[in-house]
Symmetry: C2
Subunit: 257 residues, 2 copies
């Protein structure tokens, strides 16, 4: 039986999503250890993608197979009882046997939060990059427009040895002031994202917002296909995986039927 | 020069407000150490009241005297720069020489948050008591009504050796469902609160909400003037000091002019 779940976690205490040996504190590791204990089976949890150390999630999606049959509501309750307070299962349901949270993902929505003015709210500081500087949002929006579309994002890829295609479709970048203009949130939606891509896009947009780069430079950066051409990698704590989108039949978008 | 400030803090990492020797991690200690370093003077920070270990604040008010003259905006900026991310100064201004944040307080508003259904939101769990049980809010409201007024709250006082008067005016208790009914927040407003009073009131109301006590028992509990008569002390992490009220002229309410 295949189970699909939607998860939220506060990434602060974790070394990211991916299991790493026996000792490291990871989200995947926590989930697999718990599910194995609850079911007595060896369970492998497949996430829609890895999130870096310190990155949060409000809608990470994952799936796992069990030989034993569980009522999804009951299993979710048991999981939430034993998971630490900073990992929660929001939804759990049976999924078609061939559903795979990563291979079938049709899109993702990430949100990056920046605190611009004064000190970040003490109850929210874990979810913001505390920049403490005003950003020119108009210039950032201008730059963002040049990044939209199906493009080779090699310059925005944190993995220098990436062998596979670095072409992704970036559908939307939306900037929104929050906290009465003291903060800024940026939503990135696309069919998929390369390693650290959202953080490098954000870092580059921040450099535009600080006047250190012109918006027009984005085209050159894309053409360079070189990580050195883009801006800094914005810190993990400002990033949150908001949602993973799937087509109704579970097929990735654009895939032949 | 006397300075008045409004503070917010996440109490999770702290042993409460009050300075305790040299080693303990307290809010007052952090503020005094920083102010002494910034100004080169020995500074004593007076809070409107002590908050227990683990209790949060969105509107704690405090004052301190300095021999040197500081522009309040500049001093606040410096404080926020060096304070940890979980303590913030929201407002700082010069106050009349005789203003005292505790002696002049005319009222306080506390909020207690309880998570009733399922697992607390992972991004808010530090601010909730995770009860995981549905509460009968109608019964709790009925009980709350019997607690309102100027009364002797000795049964709701955590300090068994309290020598001073245990009479306080409890002006309002307001229950409000939040998080689509999954959580409950209770606001307590009064002219002052005894040690752990809000937490014991909350614990007693929770016992009513769970059907372990009748609402009508509140009158007996008040009359008993005995801590044993009331309910359990609800955990600190659900509590937040929201606001400290002062009269326009800084005099406590009901004090002769």
């Amino acid at each position: 039986m295949n189970y699909k779940m939607i998860l939220q976690y506060e990434g602060t205490r974790y070394n990211g999503w991916q299991r790493q040996g026996n000792t490291a504190q990871t989200i995947q590791g926590k989930l697999e250890t718990l599910l194995s204990r609850l079911t007595g089976e060896e369970v492998e949890v497949q996430g829609s993608g890895r999130t870096d150390a310190g990155v949060h999630a409000k809608g990470q999606t994952a799936n796992f197979h069990l030989k034993s049959v569980w009522e999804p509501g009951k299993l979710m309750e048991e999981m939430n009882r034993y998971l630490p307070a900073d990992i929660g299962v929001l939804e759990l349901e049976q999924a078609p046997e061939r559903f795979h949270s990563r291979l079938n993902a049709a899109g993702k929505l990430y949100r990056y939060q920046i605190w611009m003015e004064g000190k970040a709210d003490v109850f929210s500081h874990r979810y913001f990059y505390s920049l403490g500087k005003k950003l020119d949002c108009k210039a950032m929006e201008e730059a963002a427009k040049l990044l939209i579309g199906e493009r080779d994002f090699k310059s925005f890829c944190g993995n220098g040895n990436m062998k596979k295609s670095t072409v992704r479709q970036l559908r939307q970048i939306e900037l929104r002031p929050t906290w009465k203009g003291k903060a800024l949130e940026i939503d990135f939606e696309g069919n998929g994202f390369l390693q650290q891509m959202v953080r490098i896009l954000t870092g580059t947009l921040i450099e535009v917002g600080l006047g250190q780069r012109n918006a027009g430079q984005m085209t050159e950066i894309l053409e360079a296909k070189n990580r050195q051409a883009a801006g800094f990698t914005a810190p993990a704590q400002g990033l949150c995986l908001m949602q993973v989108m799937y087509n109704k039949d579970g097929r990735p978008e654009g895939m032949p039927r």
